[in-house]
């Protein structure tokens, strides 16, 4: 009898695969069930936002940033506003800074709750999705109450925020914080010690701290590999230096630690929101010298601003030539580097593990393709 013929073969995963969180195509080289090589192919959602920004005034760029990374658009608004404020040396009123921090942290919690739900769903557990989305809804309602939008908020603008919070915001927000704090034990109880969850996640998709740094991986994925680096602490912006919070770090660098890392970050964000609500001062929400959406011209110069969002470092490089439109806007998202580093995490993994690894990176494709 002739021996069984075995050979490597190439298959295509995506672009329309439900677990690729958007439209990402992965070209896999397989040996049976084992993945030998993975090559991400991107660009399916390329909308050329950077080019469109060059044809819009500074204030008109803010809604384009919403569409850059729609799950945490508050951070995207924030990073562009920071860049413009640095360029034009605009002083942001105290109340606006506090409102910004509240919104940024609520958005981070909402994003991590979405991660909690969809990652579990990718692995086959449907209940966490219902839990995560249920509490995310509370936060999305708060955003809707504030700026009228449930996604793509266009709330944080250069100089301040677009409008003040309604009076019922603060009690509702405190209630949401209380509910989410209580539900944390439910989330943990559902998955942390779940044997199926652990088998699917522990030790899968290992990324070392050195590789994380070299590949530009940031945010929760890097911190789950033991890289203790958070822009809120290491390169503080806005008023983050006033709050008392910790940067949780995990050291195993696998999918399970990335999951634990995000849950730990929700708890810290809840702490920040509570402190910001307590310290929220009265006052203006826009600078004294109002920014005209059409005629605003920052002086010529170039700046790179960055913030810590739920997917790592979110940065933007803005070049001004002194006119009312930017000469160049470059966007840098955390997902880009996370996806770029995917091929080094797949050592000895099966095709089902690849789905778990991809989910644990929490990649948002519009952020990668722009």
């Amino acid at each position: 009898m002739s021996p069984l013929r075995t050979e490597e073969f190439t298959i295509n995963m995506g672009p329309h695969h439900p677990s690729t969180h958007g439209v990402c195509r992965l070209i896999l080289t397989m040996d049976g069930e084992k993945v030998l090589k993975v090559e991400p192919v991107i660009g399916y959602l390329h909308r050329s936002i950077e080019k469109i920004c060059e044809n819009r005034t500074y204030v008109q760029c803010v809604p384009l940033f919403d569409r850059f990374e729609y799950v945490t658009s508050m951070s995207c608004n924030m990073v562009f506003s920071l860049a413009v404020e640095k360029l034009a040396q605009i002083e942001v009123p105290e109340r606006a800074e506090y409102l910004r921090v509240i919104m940024l942290e609520l958005n981070r919690i909402a994003s991590h709750l979405l991660f909690y739900g969809v990652t579990a769903m990718d692995i086959g557990a449907l209940t966490p999705f219902l839990y995560g989305l249920r509490e995310r809804e509370l936060i999305v309602d708060l955003f809707e109450m504030t700026c009228g939008q449930r996604l793509t908020y266009n709330y944080i603008r250069p100089g301040g925020v677009s409008r003040d919070i309604p009076p019922e915001f603060i009690p509702k927000c405190r209630e949401a914080v209380k509910i989410i704090t209580e539900k944390m034990s439910d989330y943990e109880g559902l998955l942390n010690e779940n044997p199926i969850w652990k088998v699917r996640n522990v030790g899968i998709g290992y990324l070392s701290a050195e590789d994380a740094i070299a590949w530009g991986v940031s945010g929760p994925v890097a911190r789950a590999s033991g890289v203790s680096y958070d822009i809120r602490k290491n390169d503080p912006y806005s008023i983050y230096d006033r709050f008392d919070f910790e940067i949780p770090v995990h050291h195993n660098g696998d999918c399970y630690d990335r999951y634990l890392q995000r849950l730990a970050e929700i708890k810290q964000s809840l702490r920040i929101v509570t402190q910001a609500l307590d310290g929220l001062p009265e006052g203006e929400i826009q600078p004294k010298k109002k920014i005209n959406a059409i005629t605003f011209k920052p002086p010529a110069g170039e700046v790179y601003a960055r913030v810590e969002n739920s997917r790592g470092e979110l940065g933007t490089y803005v070049v001004s030539d002194g006119t009312n439109k930017p000469l160049r806007v470059k966007m840098r998202g955390g997902s880009y580097n996370q996806l770029q580093a995917l091929p080094i995490m797949i050592k000895d993994c099966l095709i089902a593990d690849l789905v778990a690894i991809f989910a644990s990176l929490d990649v948002i494709m519009p952020e990668v393709d722009r």
Partner: protein
């Protein structure tokens, strides 16, 4: 290290390979000479005082008159940051790859090659990336790019 310490240290260490372009409003920006780009990049990573081990961002800029490359570096260990800029040769824009220094540069360089038409020396995978596979309409991020009708932007005049 503070901004001023970084400025004086880099100027002292690298001397004539770069010049400081400082507006005083933002982080220090250095213009690196095109020929020294790769050497300076490696030295910035390996220098024990600076340790720029993390590449934040790398991309191209078209100012309308010239092509530039911009690069933002950070140090995870030392928590400081620096901005770099390289002015490219307009006739034949080309830049040495820094993939061997920061593997993260891989996709950023592919993007520069595709959207700006900047040749990356030493990059072995310069293939279609963000644009469609059959794209033959030039480099869309160039200022003088003549947009085909299907992607023409409506003019906005203020």
């Amino acid at each position: 290290m503070t901004h001023d310490e970084i400025k004086s240290y880099i100027e002292k260490t690298f001397g004539d390979k770069l010049t400081l372009l400082d507006t005083g409003r933002c982080e220090p920006v250095f213009e690196v000479k095109l020929a020294d780009w790769h050497d300076v990049a490696r030295a910035l990573r390996d220098d024990q005082t600076l340790q720029f081990d993390y590449l934040c961002n790398l991309g191209g800029t078209d100012t309308g008159e010239r092509l530039e490359a911009h690069c933002q570096l950070a140090s995870i260990k030392k928590s400081h940051r620096v901005d770099l800029k390289v002015v490219l040769d307009s006739g034949n824009p080309s830049l040495a790859s820094v993939r061997d220094i920061w593997p993260a540069a891989n996709w950023y360089e592919r993007e520069m090659w595709e959207l700006y038409g900047i040749n990356i020396e030493g990059h072995d995978n310069l293939t279609r990336f963000l644009l469609p596979d059959d794209w033959d309409q030039g480099h869309p991020m160039r200022k003088n790019w003549d947009a085909p009708d299907f992607v023409r932007f409506p003019e906005f005049n203020a």
